[in-house]
């Protein structure tokens, strides 16, 4: 954290002058600006190309929808704020994400940053914003990698510090484990679990013997077979399949890349290994990946962050989750994906923050307004009140709700997510019970 304290010296002053000159520059381009009308420039870093591109699929629809909704601006006291969104592509690369975040701050002179789509995107951008003292709201990354991953020494909880300008809303590993075990407990199994954990940030976090799945599963009476960390993008999973067969595994879990899971799942079937449940992170997040697996994807299960059945509606448009999903499907001709709700919620929070600030030039005021958010969004309540979080993360993190679902083939031949477990949040209705894979 020495880096931060050095860069704080003089940075505030510099930024304030920079922001003031930025306002002047903007004034030249837009001649007829009212004295009290001010455009809030939102910077948005998104992986539009590269391996994470599927996350960014909802960008265009969501941003256009937001700008349309707030076309007349947002009123805050006597002031009226308009919005402009500047999107930059991270190319799915953390270094590139940091670079474009800097460009947004220095060249585009944005007022607020938003960022989403995996720790590879959220972390570098949040870190840059913290250093540059630009308020930043992020989502779509479990809170542990976002919070702990940005600490100077992730291994020493005593050294962890909170952040002043960066705020995050999403769920955590503990919620995921609760959802998975709730789903498994619906089935009659021998409680033998097989883990597929790759040698990457997610795989190591899930498989961590102290803070990951092993101790949590152990506490709930499940036994875990963890053959070891494999390299991503493999063409052969026989070793894992043999290990699972040997330990009579009936439940498979893991955080796997889509092509790797397809390879594993196909090979498992070829070699006669069919578990009763397979709860997988990452690989089956997007309907396109599930449809690509084919018929054997029936009843694969995963955590559900948001769905068209969630009983929430947008504070911006009033649309329910179901209306938003069908709107997306009819406008793009593609199945809705879970990032849709969360990206929309990011914009909801921005609009809500704008209603509660006096000046967007004061980043401390904006950050304080973000921290004071108490909003019912399309993904549920968002308020940085520290509920259900360890003390160190209470300031910067708020948790969203997580339930469990299974992919099932609909009559039109497409796989759709069916919520099968709501133990963690009973207000979200289930549409069925957990079924065994056959």
């Amino acid at each position: 954290m020495t880096l931060k304290s050095i860069s704080t010296l003089g940075r505030r002053k510099f930024l304030k002058t920079a922001a003031a000159s930025g306002a002047l520059a903007a004034g030249i381009g837009a001649p007829a600006v009212h004295a009290q009308a001010r455009t809030i420039k939102i910077g948005y870093v998104s992986p539009q190309t590269g391996p994470l591109a599927a996350f960014a699929e909802v960008d265009g629809y969501t941003v256009d929808g937001f700008l349309e909704t707030v076309g007349g601006g947002v009123q805050s006291g006597s002031k009226n704020f308009n919005f402009e969104v500047v999107i930059k592509d991270s190319q799915s690369n953390p270094s590139r994400a940091a670079e474009v975040a800097k460009e947004l701050i220095v060249d585009d002179e944005i007022d607020i940053m938003i960022v989403a789509h995996t720790p590879e995107t959220t972390n570098p951008v949040s870190t840059i914003c913290e250093i540059e003292e630009i308020p930043c709201i992020s989502t779509l990354a479990p809170w542990q990698p976002w919070f702990i991953g940005r600490q100077g020494n992730p291994g020493d909880p005593g050294s962890w510090t909170s952040f002043d300008y960066t705020y995050h809303f999403f769920w955590g590993l503990e919620d995921l484990i609760a959802v998975f075990t709730n789903m498994w407990n619906q089935l009659e199994t021998n409680k033998s679990v097989g883990g597929l954990f790759p040698n990457d940030a997610d795989g190591n976090a899930w498989g961590d013997p102290n803070t990951g799945m092993p101790p949590a599963l152990d506490a709930q009476g499940f036994s875990l077979t963890d053959p070891g960390r494999y390299q991503n993008l493999q063409d052969d999973f026989s070793a894992q399949i043999n290990a699972f067969k040997e330990n009579e595994v009936e439940i498979v879990t893991g955080v796997v890349l889509p092509p790797d899971f397809a390879t594993f799942w196909t090979q498992a079937r070829q070699q006669g290994f069919v578990p009763k449940a397979a709860s997988i992170g990452k690989a089956i997040l997007f309907p396109s990946a599930v449809n690509a697996i084919g018929d054997s994807a029936q009843n694969l299960s995963s955590e559900v962050w948001w769905s068209n059945h969630h009983p929430f509606s947008s504070s911006l448009t009033g649309d329910t989750a179901a209306e938003m999903c069908s709107g997306f499907e009819s406008s793009t001709g593609r199945q809705w994906t879970q990032p849709l709700g969360f990206l929309h919620a990011l914009f909801e929070i921005i609009a809500d923050v704008a209603k509660r600030i006096d000046s967007v030039n004061d980043s401390e005021e904006v950050a304080a307004a973000i921290a004071a958010t108490n909003l019912e969004t399309i993904v549920g309540p968002v308020a940085w009140n520290g509920a259900n979080l360890p003390p160190f993360a209470q300031k910067n993190v708020t948790k969203t709700l997580l339930v469990g679902g299974q992919w099932r083939k609909s009559d039109d031949g497409l796989f759709r997510l069916v919520i099968v477990d709501n133990t963690t949040y009973p207000d979200i209705p289930t549409a069925g019970e957990m079924q065994e894979i056959s």
Partner: protein, 287 residues
């Protein structure tokens, strides 16, 4: 029993790697061109088959034949119009150009087909397996292995039994003398690339049918293809098959010890071969 299974699965994996590597081996053997876009061409081949299946409504075999023809034309045009201009004493220009092609293909596919994960559906054949005692081996891996053998048999026939093959070998051995004998090197190179692209389309077919693929998956397969070529020995197609099998076995056995060793074991064997036999296991006799 697990070890027998591991070895069988390793050999099957080797067949896949050999198929990935044959196209690479072919063009490196004939024109010393290192094609860094090889993996992306495989993905392009898979997408070509996908277009046949999903847009034209053809069966997977018919689509594959069509994709093969498409890749043949593409390969010829690519070599004739672009890559021939980069060939020369310096190895760097073709390397840079194919690197650029790799990026162009990836992003072109991303634009055209979105980031969606795709699969070539083989109507349930993916999950069929054949039982050998206690070991079950997938029909798809067996077919992959057999295809690799057939492809190499056909290429060898072409190389050693036809006039075109003689021209290929002559150009590969001594391009200057070959030219003196009335062989049009550029045409031979274009033909070789076209042929290699057909093999690449076959590799793409299996890449896309055995699991899922997306526009950006190509480069991850490139390194295994390279290793198979080097282990087997440059210029020898049977060597490439052997190289693929050695690599597949090393990975399967490594993974059985510990999945952390899967990729590493392959790399270690590759390095060991480079140290013990720098020219590979079955180098073609020096020309």
């Amino acid at each position: 029993m697990i070890w027998v299974d591991t070895i069988v699965q390793g050999i099957m994996l080797g067949g896949l790697y050999a198929l990935f590597a044959t196209g690479l081996s072919l063009i490196f053997g004939i024109m010393r061109l290192v094609n860094l876009a090889h993996g992306d061409f495989m993905v392009l081949g898979a997408f070509a088959v996908l277009v046949g299946v999903e847009s034209l409504g053809l069966g997977i075999i018919a689509s594959a034949i069509l994709a093969g023809a498409f890749m043949f034309v593409l390969g010829y045009a690519l070599q004739h119009l672009l890559l021939n201009r980069t060939l020369g004493k310096d190895l760097l220009p073709p390397l840079l150009v194919t690197f650029g092609l790799s990026i162009i293909i990836q992003n072109g596919l991303l634009e055209g087909f979105s980031a969606d994960t795709q699969r070539l559906k083989a109507g349930g054949f993916e999950e069929v397996s054949v039982q050998f005692g206690a070991i079950s081996v997938g029909a798809m891996p067996i077919l992959t292995f057999c295809s690799a053998v057939v492809v190499i048999l056909l290429l060898n026939w072409l190389f050693y039994r036809t006039e075109t093959g003689r021209a290929f070998r002559a150009t590969s051995d001594d391009p200057v003398t070959a030219q003196l004998m009335g062989i049009d090197n550029n045409r031979i190179f274009s033909l070789a690339m076209a042929l290699a692209m057909v093999v690449v389309a076959i590799a793409g077919l299996y890449l896309g049918a055995r699991a899922t693929f997306d526009p950006l998956i190509g480069p991850s397969r490139l390194i295994f293809a390279f290793e198979a070529v080097i282990i087997g020995g440059l210029g020898s197609l049977w060597g490439t098959l052997a190289g693929g099998v050695v690599l597949g076995l090393a990975q399967a056995i490594g993974a059985q010890v510990n999945p952390e060793w899967q990729t590493l074991a392959g790399h270690i064997v590759f390095l060991a071969v480079l140290i013990v036999k720098p020219r590979g296991l079955f180098p073609r006799t020096a020309g």
